[in-house]
């Protein structure tokens, strides 16, 4: 892979993700769940995209496939020129390591590591990371670097998780309900961090949320229903996270 592919900021507007007839079917016993049903979509470089949709509509499934955590049942997915659906486990691991930052609803910090060490968990193996301290500074936790997760509030833990995700200078930042476990005030703080990272570093960002208000801060809003892309809209003007009606 050439160096430009993991450049920190990329030409805005170029295609970041593209899917073609993407399907994901879960077959557990006699039940057949179609989580993604022929999804065709395009996400662009540097954009902040919000995924909306009812519970069970397939948002997490899509995010997991885009992030290389899961395999599609059929259809194809590209990250820039790289066809993810053609990759084996080993190559997917490499793809995640080099390009993707994840943020989860339940933070998923390692309890036995401090904030700084949780970030280093990623910078240890990333090809071109920023110092853990810088990443924590970016999320406003420069003063709490040596605290263990148990000593941090939920919002602070989520900000550590974001710092951990951005510290590797990922091509894309994928967030699955990053504010789901937080109250509105802390939620806004977390969104501000995401917004700032997106603005300052140009990282392509995808955020899943149940909070429709959040869509106002996105470049692009995708709505899912029953595994299908129901609607897609582009915001002409974006609202700052602090002005979001929760």
């Amino acid at each position: 892979m050439d160096d430009s592919s993991r450049m920190w900021a990329d030409a805005p507007g170029a295609v970041a993700f593209r899917t073609e007839a993407l399907c994901k079917v879960y077959e557990t016993g006699p039940v057949r769940v179609v989580a993604l049903d022929n999804v065709d979509l395009t996400l662009r470089m540097g954009e902040l995209t919000v995924l909306l949709g009812a519970s069970g509509s397939g948002k997490s499934t899509l995010l997991n496939i885009l992030g290389g955590l899961d395999h599609a049942s059929s259809g194809r997915v590209w990250y820039r020129e790289l066809e993810l659906t053609a990759l084996g486990d080993r190559a997917l691991t490499r793809y995640r390591r080099d390009h993707v930052g994840f943020v989860f609803q339940f933070y998923n910090l390692v309890p036995s590591l401090t904030a700084r060490e949780n970030v280093r968990l990623v910078t240890d193996i990333a090809p071109d990371p920023m110092p853990a301290e810088e990443a924590l500074g970016l999320v406003g936790l420069g003063a709490r670097m040596d605290h263990f997760p148990a000593q941090l509030s939920g919002g602070e833990q989520q900000r550590v998780a974001i710092a951990r995700a951005v510290a590797k200078r990922p091509g894309v930042l994928l967030c699955d309900e990053p504010t789901g476990a937080l109250d509105s005030r802390t939620g806004v703080q977390v969104l501000e961090v995401l917004d700032r990272v997106n603005r300052e570093t140009g990282t392509t960002t995808v955020v899943i949320t149940h909070n429709a208000g959040i869509r106002a801060m996105a470049h692009r809003v995708l709505r899912f229903a029953d595994g299908r892309l129901a609607s897609e809209e582009v915001n002409a003007t974006r609202v700052a996270p602090s002005e979001i009606v929760w």
Binding site: L69, D70, V110, S112, L113, E117, I125
Partner: protein
């Protein structure tokens, strides 16, 4: 300015923190592993030290390879022996068993007299002089005694004692003390344990020995060194041919030289130990590691998912968890190698003193260390592999989702349970056991192995008690057995009965015999008993029995080695008594206790030889007040060649055993408890971690601490109780294995396990289990209800 230290990778930091958080569990596992490694190292180290020290000693002091006895062979024959192809050197000696009269000791002592060459020290079986000097060749009264005897009696050069040499009382002067490779393990005739205060080795100049035993120009004992690559069997055959006309009893190799054979059996015992016990510990280690790692991986599903999402490869996750197991193993191995190394050195030192090696060669071979470490890592690796592979294979998307709650289904057993209307907490215990039968089963196996180790170890003392009972209380009930250099007419019994202090006197024959059946040949002892023999009896198990008048009753192991069954006929060579072999019918079998024996009646034996009634020894019981007078009379009696003091013998046996047993028993209680603690503590910790939420809910519902703890304590108790019968059975099995492997040609360990032993083993095992679960129980008391309910799982 702070200089940045070299940083550990964050993943490795997690590893170390996990290790620290789990320290109690790690220690509980490491202790079990450490025990296994220590026992392995100790057994290997000790057997190695014994083996090397012995080999070096033999080499340095030119220990002979072949040994022969005759009644009286001309000295000129030594040259012919030396001319046998393959023979390097021959030492023709005069050697006899005699009685000693030691100043200040009422009872007689026994000694083996060995002659020294006329010129210079012996070339074979050389002596290591520990004090004093060699006897002057011209002096008739100067002797060297073995150092342990001198130490036990407090003799120093210049001290004197009396001996009955060939019927004459002689005063001897100690001029030196020495050790010899021939007598590393010194044991008196008929005795079972070394008793340095009651048995001596005496070296005297050849001319003095010749004169004392009327052996001028003759020898009765030859030790032979072989050339490198010589064929021992053909040399032995040649020696037997040359010595046959002179009352030879058959030459033999080191395998039947008493001191050597005893050391062999000791070394073998240690080697067997290394192969029987450590595997049990390693197995339990693997099982504990598996249990703990499976739990850790289950708890860390989300973290594993995160690592994978961040781009850590399957290999990195696998090695992360294997490394954790490796670190646990390292703690155990370090523990085991340290303790094992120290123990091996200490015990080998103890052995060297017990066996009188002039020098102990103790250098743990690197293979022993490596084997210990390797076995430890292998056990931990074996245990960790499944969980670590599971972690590595966990698909990242699945890892992120919480595990689905375990499915409890109402089965037939449940309907049965609800019919008995148990309290809900008991129900929880039973459900958990039934829901995870494999886990419950392995825990039961763990507890059972702990009990088994305790049963099989205590078996030693039960078994030795059994030997004592059989050897003394049931079969050899005399106070003293007097023996004579050659068989005497039966009148001697009356003469002994007339000695002062004598209550009962019975005559017997003990004779060396070489039995053959087909191409199989074994050396054994014939014991011929008078009708209604009371002081010396044949035992069938623990029941006294009488041999029939025709044929001989063989001990079972002897019969097995000869491949004969009752009714079949053996060839018997009565060494030194008859030239040509006689036919001997096997009349029956009895279990062997102390060595290979063929029991006959006195009359049957005399008929076999076609001679008038004779005996070779008289067993005697004494009046309580008659001991001193009796021993005075025996020391003065010229015909008596040996006096076996059974009470002294028993004391020596018991004190040796008691010393060994207290050390061993302590060691085994530690080992058995380590297993029980390792299993119970880890089991309870895992239960607690899996059920923290459940137990906290119970507390919130208003159950008392004890009611809640019962869910934990009850399950451990239930499983530990279920494990006991299995533990007894396994322990009995291990004991049977040990009885079989540890029985030597000197004695057979009877498979005796007293009920008290089972009870004791279960008590220790259950006690250790309950104590460790109580430690875990304290955590329930400290359970932070709010925190537990808030955390996501």
């Amino acid at each position: 300015m702070v200089i940045p230290r070299p940083q550990l990778r964050a993943l490795d930091l997690k590893l170390l923190r996990d290790l620290r958080r789990l320290w109690a569990q790690v220690l509980a596992i490491a202790a079990v592993l450490g025990c296994g490694v220590a026992v392995l190292l100790m057994s290997l180290g000790m057997s190695d030290a014994l083996d090397r020290s012995r080999a070096a000693y033999y080499e340095r002091e030119a220990f002979a390879q072949v040994f022969a006895r005759a009644t009286r062979a001309p000295l000129g024959l030594a040259g012919e022996l030396r001319a046998i192809p393959g023979v390097r050197d021959v030492e023709a000696r005069v050697s006899r068993f005699v009685l000693l009269d030691l100043p200040g000791r009422v009872r007689p002592a026994t000694a083996q007299v060995v002659s020294l060459p006329d010129a210079g020290p012996p070339r074979l079986n050389r002596l290591v002089l520990r004090s004093g000097r060699w006897p002057e060749p011209g002096r008739w009264d100067e002797v060297i005694v073995d150092a342990p005897f001198a130490a036990a009696q407090g003799y120093r050069p210049g001290d004197r004692f009396a001996a009955n040499l060939g019927g004459a009382r002689r005063e001897l002067t100690v001029v030196g003390t020495a050790l010899s490779p021939e007598f590393v393990y010194t044991i008196g005739p008929g005795a079972m344990m070394p008793d340095p205060s009651g048995h001596a080795v005496i070296w005297m100049p050849r001319r003095a020995a010749e004169a004392a035993f009327d052996m001028t120009g003759a020898f009765d004992d030859a030790v032979i060194a072989l050339r490198r690559g010589a064929d021992e069997a053909s040399v032995i055959a040649a020696i037997d041919r040359l010595l046959a006309p002179y009352g030879a009893t058959g030459a033999h190799g080191r395998d039947r030289q008493i001191s050597h054979a005893f050391l062999d059996s000791e070394i073998e015992t240690l080697r067997v130990m290394a192969w029987i016990l450590p595997p049990v510990f390693l197995l339990i280690t693997a099982f504990l590691v598996n249990m703990v790692m499976a739990r850790i991986v289950a708890l860390e599903r989300a973290e594993i998912g995160l690592l994978k999402a961040a781009g850590y490869s399957n290999g990195a996750v696998l090695s992360h968890y294997l490394l954790l197991a490796g670190l646990i193993a390292s703690v155990g191995i370090a523990l085991g190698l340290t303790v094992g190394g120290v123990l091996a050195r200490e015990m080998a030192g103890l052995y060297a003193r017990f066996y009188n090696f002039p020098e102990l060669i103790f250098s743990m071979s690197w293979t022993a260390w490596a084997l210990g470490a390797l076995a430890g890592f292998a056990a931990a690796g074996l245990g960790a592999t499944r969980a670590a592979l599971g972690a590595a294979r966990l698909p990242p998307a699945v890892a992120m989702a919480p595990p689905s709650p375990p499915r409890f289904a109402r089965g037939a057993v449940d309907r049965l349970l609800s019919a008995v209307r148990l309290p809900q907490t008991d129900m929880m215990i039973l459900r958990s056991v039934l829901r995870w039968p494999l886990r419950a089963g392995t825990a039961v196996l763990g507890y059972a192995l702990g009990t088994a180790i305790l049963v099989s170890s205590s078996f030693f003392s039960d078994s030795l008690d059994g030997i004592m009972e059989r050897a003394f209380d049931l079969s050899n009930r005399a106070d003293v057995v007097l023996s004579f250099p050659r068989d005497l007419p039966v009148d001697v019994i009356a003469a002994v009965r007339d000695l002062p202090g004598v209550l009962q006197a019975e005559g017997h024959v003990y004779a060396a015999v070489r039995l053959s059946h087909g191409h199989l040949t074994e050396d054994a002892t014939i014991q011929a008993l008078p009708p209604g023999s009371d002081l010396t009896r044949m035992l069938d198990g623990t029941r006294p029995a009488a041999p029939p008048d025709a044929g001989a009753v063989l001990t079972d192991r002897l019969a097995a080695r000869l491949g004969v069954r009752p009714g079949e006929v053996l060839r018997a060579e009565l060494v030194g008594l008859r030239r040509d072999p006689v036919a001997l019918r096997v009349a029956g079998l009895v279990p062997e206790v102390m060595g290979a024996t063929a029991y006959m009646t006195l009359s049957g034996y005399d008929r076999l030889l076609g001679r008038p009634p004779k005996i070779s020894s008289v067993a005697v019981t004494l009046r309580a007040d008659g001991e001193a007078a009796f021993h005075r009379a025996v020391k003065a009696a010229p015909a008596v060649g040996g006096a076996l003091l059974l009470a002294d013998n028993r004391r020596a046996f018991e004190s040796t055993i008691a010393q060994n047993m207290t050390v061993m028993a302590t060691v085994y209680v530690v080992l058995g408890s380590a297993i029980a603690i390792g299993v119970a503590y880890n089991g309870a910790r895992i239960q607690l971690s899996e059920r923290a939420r459940e137990l906290a809910s119970l507390r919130i519902l208003g159950l008392t601490r004890w009611e809640v703890s019962w869910v934990l304590v009850g399950e451990v108790l239930l499983l530990a109780l279920l494990a006991q019968p299995l533990g007894w059975a396994l322990g009995y099995g291990i004991a049977a294995l040990m009885a079989d492997r540890f029985s030597s040609e000197f004695y057979t360990l009877p498979l005796v396990v007293e009920p008290a032993t089972f009870a004791f083993a279960s008590l220790v095992s259950l006690g250790a289990s309950v104590a460790s679960v109580m430690l875990v129980r304290r955590r329930i008391d400290r359970l932070d209800l709010v925190a537990v309910m808030k955390t996501r799982e």
